[in-house]
Amino acid sequence: MIEVEAFSKLYGDLRAVQSLSFSVQSGEVVGLVGPNGAGKTTTLRSIAGIVRPTEGTIRVAGHDLAREPVAAKRELAFIPDEPQLFEYLTVEEHLRFIGRLYGVADAPQRIPALLEELELTDKRTVLPGELSRGMRQKLAIACGLLHEPRALLLDEPLTGLDPVGIRNMRTTISRRAETGCAVLLSSHLLHLVEEVCSRVLVLVRGQTAAFGTLQEIVTGRPELAGRPLEDVFLQLIGRSGVEQ
């Protein structure tokens, strides 16, 4: 569903991502992890069509993002770590707006259920300026889910959510994957990644340090067998740092 081939991104002289290749299949949740400045957000923003790759190709649901950007974007949703909302549209109007952008014919029927699912029903006529950080994040998530995307890009999706919201978000991610959505999830919360992701892509300084299931990653590193992802991750960063 998401195919990234030889993707590189340069900001002036700075090489943020270098020759990155990976794919996310339908129904799969892939975790994108790495230290600060590793290139995770650049990768997500490039797949979302916000920034253009310097080199390489990105495909979403078979559509080349460079050649068919509108068709590709129609199949995906990007939920950033910092919710970006329009200060002058109410909660419900945000969803109506998104419904029109993505051509969701049954948006009026879907919106109440989505608001209920994300506990925003009693806030439907409220402007985002009056919402807490967590509620704004929930609204951003609702906007991402309304058109039932086939590819979902999540950048630190649990930031600002309360314990109930975190649990619901985990359930939502798993449920979306079960319905065939390809999910690419960037997070520093390694226990979340370990819990919901089937494969993990570890980025260090814009390059792939490891990619695969936890089992595949620790193969060849017997000392890490059976250890949690956090230990594996720290080890990978340490080794990669030494190697580079």
């Binding site: 923003r45 979302a48 069509g49 916000i50 920034v51 253009r52 950007p69 509108v70 068709a71 974007k73 129609r74 990007f78 950033p80 919710p83 970006q84 909302l85 329009f86 200060e87 002058y88 549209l89 109410t90 109007e93 109506r96 707006f97 419904g99 029109r100 952008l101 993505y102 051509g103 969701v104 014919a105 049954d106 948006a107 009026p108 006529t125 402007l127 985002p128 300026g129 009056e130 704004r136």
Partner: protein, 563 residues
Amino acid sequence: MTGALVYLTWHTVLNRLRRQATRLRSPRYALALLLGLGWVTAVLWQRWEPGAPHPSGPWVEVVAALSILLLIGWSWLSSPDARALTFSPAEVTLLFPAPISRLTLLHYKLLQTQLVILVNVVIWTALASRQQPGLPVGLRALGFWVLITTLALHRLAAAMVRGSVSEHGRFGLRHRVLSVALVLIAFGALAWGVWDVWPGLMAAAQDDHVGLREAFDKAVHHPAIAAVLWPLRALVRPLGAANPSDWLGAMLPAVGLLLLHYLWVLRSDAAFEEAATEASLARARRQEAYGPGALALGTNRAPSPPVFPLAPTGWPGVAILWKGLTAVLRRRRALNVGLALLIMGAIVASASSEPWSTVAEVTGALTLTWLGFLIVLGPQWVRNDLRGDLSRVDLLRSYPLRGSTIVAMEASASAAALTLLELALAALAFLAFLNMDLPEVTTLDRGALLGSAVVLLPPLNLMAMLLQNGAAVLYPGWVGAGAPASGVEALGQQLLSVTALWVVLALILAAPVALAAITFLGLEAAVGAWAAAPAYGVGLGVLAVEAWLLVRWLGAVFERGEG
């Protein structure tokens, strides 16, 4: 503790100046500052014509008092200005829990207001000194300081009273009963006075200017109107004093009024901390989420309905237009503009039926002046487009729309809002002058002008808004998100932007205007004035092609994210 607050204020100003000085290393900011300074110098220090009459006397005092009355009336009628009470997030976090008394905090707020007041005092003193020499500059500055500080205190107190009443309802009203009663008595007296003198003014307006002046003089001496105007005239009287002794005599009541306002504000501070904290936290939340532009929106009331219902299916570009138009409706400024239009409309409707009405004439002239300002500066002023959405540009880029669609629809939203306002003003002006017999511009001519405005303003505004949005796409750092910055440098930036916009717009309009003129001249001999129709068609067609090319190019730049 007061020392700490003075230290904070002083170093805030100092560091701001240092930061601005550092920015001057960039040529564009240096150029903006030079332009701004040049403009201020040209306006403030140009020599008064030797033979020109100097405005002075009781009429100036009355007109100034009436202007202040309008300002004060507006501060009570329009939405309460939360900024008068607002502290920055850092101030709320660090000062409110600190061992500082409520009174000290209020004085700190007043000290901050003084910084803006002092700049205004310098500007107004310079303006007045060149128009009315005689009084020493220091005394005149002191007069302006008393006037402007009193008005600022009045505004602050009005915001506190209105905020308290709207927040706490009957409970708040009970605590502000004296203030509310005084304001209602003043409004009531004014309404009674105007009701009483209105027939005389109307009758005089149909005679001659001398008769009107006498009727006006009589009107301002009506007991109710004179009583309402008295404190305002007392505030402006020191500014018109001919010598230091007159000035001293006039200053005593003015300073008395200043002290009364100061006491009013001190007594009004009962709900100060609560209201200030709430306003400040709301502002902090909005700034955190949307940047400084969010301040323009009041969120203490239910949002107005969107401009039109958005169907879930259809061309998605309409959603961007809907978003932009809904934004403009929900800004506080829209309420004020709507209120002003309503008042002007009511005046025109009641007065334009008279065969010769000074009131309609004055309203028509004001409307035309406003329209002129909007045509020149409107594209800078109305910003419900990409300029307002710069902090959300990532979100816009992730939507399944072509960059050209986003740019075109964002610009269209601003252009539509501006055009509607301009056409409303043009129609008001037409109605205001409807019964006026002007041989140079007949009613038919005026109708043709209004018709031309209907045809020409939409494409002109669209092109101007495309250029403004183009600047936001190409130079987002220069355009800035949200509300425009302030200061001399910002003034220079705006001058540069307006000049650049009009130069580019003139270049773009050159071809359509030239081709339209050729078409008109070619067909005029055959069809007369009807040649204007194909000429408009040709001109608008060429302009449409230019707009299409511009949109395509800006859309590609927007998609690449090169700005």
